[in-house]
């Protein structure tokens, strides 16, 4: 009935991928802090690079989890990863400069609890379940944090929830000379921010689809690790492109354009590589040719 799920043994071990993924994701997210240091926002795109690294690692983790046959397909694992990751990420941004680290820790704990529920309470008895859901939650949280940092230029809570400032003027009591004075207060505006406008849901689902897609798309007996990972980079840059377009709402034109250009260059390169790898792995690459009969009974 179904395609046999085989996790191809690749050149890169899962632990190597995990180390690269976590380190690049954290470094990328922290590099967006250069925005605050230098006062210009052109460093925002590093957040997107970090998010791609997390997705790249996550697509390999999801492969190992799903090779056990969960009964619900690959996409649901992506959904649970980002559902847990979203909770960890929003709570984690409260911790100022330590936010990326706290997000990672919170995501690991949430993932472990959900994994425990799935494995021991729901009784799935899959050996890698707890660890895999821990890793996937971290992937979800770091991806969302990276993309959010890219979109707004900061990974701190206030930057994500305050969209702008409005001035409010209220007449104060008349001064001694009879001149009218005004009390000017600066009011933060919440509805136009990334979280206040719920634009974070876009990042949520961009990431959830991008996380499950590489393995889901490359599934089959001839799945190969380098092709799957290249697809992960490709969908990562594609997601980054959407985030870059959305960042026009938060960043200055130059910084947002830098994000668009970087993501498009990365996407074109990785897409070409992916097509080349598909061509390598395909049985044949035909253009407008008829069906080749191999012996199926009519």
């Amino acid at each position: 009935m179904s395609v046999k799920m085989e996790a191809s043994a690749g050149k890169l071990s899962e632990n190597t991928l995990m180390i690269y993924g976590i380190v690049v994701a954290l470094v990328g997210t922290y590099l967006t802090y250069l925005n605050a240091v230098t006062g210009i926002a052109v460093f925002s795109f590093f957040g997107g690079i970090g998010a791609i690294a997390a997705l790249w690692w996550g697509s390999d983790t999801i492969k190992h989890l799903c090779s056990y046959g969960l009964g619900t397909g690959v996409p649901s694992a992506g959904m649970v990863a980002f559902g847990a990751g979203a909770i960890a990420m929003i709570a984690g941004t409260k911790f100022g400069l330590a936010s990326p680290i706290v997000t990672l820790v919170l995501a690991a704990i949430i993932g472990a609890v959900i994994g425990y529920c799935a494995n021991n309470i729901i009784n799935m008895n899959i050996p890698v379940m707890i660890f895999s859901l821990m890793k996937l939650s971290i992937v979800g949280a770091l991806t969302m944090l990276g993309f959010a940092a890219m979109c707004t230029g900061t990974f701190m809570f206030n930057g994500l929830v305050i969209g702008g400032m409005t001035l409010s003027m209220e007449p104060a009591e008349a001064a001694a000379g009879g001149a009218q004075t005004f009390m000017v207060t600066v009011l933060p505006e919440f509805a136009s921010s990334l979280i206040g406008g719920a634009a974070l849901t876009v990042i949520f689902f961009l990431g959830a689809i991008a996380l499950q897609h590489p393995f889901n798309a490359c599934l089959g007996p001839n799945e190969s690790q380098d092709r799957t990972l290249m697809l992960a980079i490709e969908v990562g840059f594609l997601s980054m492109f959407v985030v870059a377009v959305m960042s026009y709402a938060f960043l200055d034109i130059i910084s947002a354009t830098v994000g668009v250009v970087v993501s498009l260059i990365g996407w074109v390169y990785s897409y070409k590589q992916y097509i080349a790898l598909s061509k390598r792995d395909a049985y044949a690459w035909l253009d407008a040719k008829p069906i080749i009969e191999v012996g199926g009974n009519e």
Binding site: V3, G197, A198, A199, A208, C218, N222, V245, K289
Partner: protein, 299 residues
């Protein structure tokens, strides 16, 4: 009063948008072969049936359309925030969402097909060239209508959710309605047209999908041609009814019976649909009769 009249007008417009979106969504997913019926397109080469059907291995329709509509709504929201005209913003948002959708389609086809090399299924690159524009066009209609509908809900009907959140909620509902209604028609009726009408596909026949057309070889475009006759409009009616009735009961009856009016109307609607469903079920049983008494009972 004026507010209610406006509300009814918006409700009708949103329902119309939803109907078009549902029909376009299902046709797109049938031409692209997305969701559960695609398991058979996957399976066929393993059984020795090489085919030329699109194999769009993205996730199921609800998460996929949730993502596309959220992207469309999110980009539109971001552009409106920097003072783009709403119409232009929604169109640009939908264009970007369709671009993403198209790229996912190609990578899904290439990935799955390349991974089936063991079963000698080649990659027919002309399938992508000829069908991608068709699926993207249908997806554009679906995404644009859904995002426009969400914009109406947010601005004219004052729903508290922001536009991207509405896009996600209704995108998932769109995919759920479209896949539930449309999948059996594409999966059983079209892919297994060679099997008996009026009966499920025997499990032993799995994988033996129809690969040849009246003349030449079946392309996924033929599947779209077939499914638009029933599955597309039916999905449209399904999603249109969901959106229209959900808005209608709230707009008209929210203020009646101390706020409980909308809920009472909703319960009545559920009961009405329950009776219709029971009538359909009984009609099917009576008209077609049991299988064991008469083998060819259905025609």
């Amino acid at each position: 009063m004026e507010e209610i009249v406006l509300g009814i007008g918006i409700t009708a417009l949103a329902g119309a948008f939803a109907t078009v979106a549902g029909a376009a969504e299902d046709t797109e997913s049938d031409i692209g072969s997305q969701g559960d019926p695609n398991s058979q397109v996957q399976l066929a080469p393993q059984m020795g049936y090489i085919h030329r059907i699109f194999n769009k291995a993205i996730s199921g329709e609800p998460p996929a359309y949730g993502a596309w509509c959220a992207i469309g709504a999110g980009v539109a929201w971001a552009l409106m925030r920097i003072n783009f005209n709403p119409a232009l913003a929604i169109i640009l948002g939908s264009v970007i969402a369709v671009f993403v959708q198209g790229v996912y389609c190609t990578s899904g086809y290439l990935g799955r097909t390349a991974s089936l090399a063991k079963f000698q299924q080649p990659v027919y690159i002309d399938i992508i060239k000829s069908l991608l524009s068709v699926t993207m066009a249908h997806a554009f209609v679906a995404i644009f209508c859904t995002v426009a509908m969400c914009h109406l809900m947010a601005t004219a009907l004052h729903h508290p959710f922001a536009l991207p959140l509405l896009g996600l909620v209704w995108g998932i509902a769109l995919g759920a309605a479209g896949s539930a209604t449309g999948n059996p028609f594409y999966g059983k009726e079209r892919q297994y047209q060679n099997q008996k009408f009026g009966a499920g596909v025997p499990i032993s026949a799995s994988g033996n999908i129809v690969r040849y057309a009246e003349a030449g070889q079946r392309s996924s475009l033929d599947n779209g041609w077939f499914t638009t006759k029933f599955a597309g409009p039916a999905s449209g009616i399904c999603f249109g009814l969901i959106v229209f009735l959900e808005l209608w009961r709230t707009v008209l009856f929210e203020k009646t019976v101390a706020g409980w009016g909308a809920i009472i109307v909703g319960v009545i609607l559920i009961l009405i649909f329950t009776f219709i469903d029971r009538w359909i079920e009984v009609w099917g049983r009576k008209t077609y009769g049991p299988y064991t008494a008469a083998e060819e009972a259905s025609s």
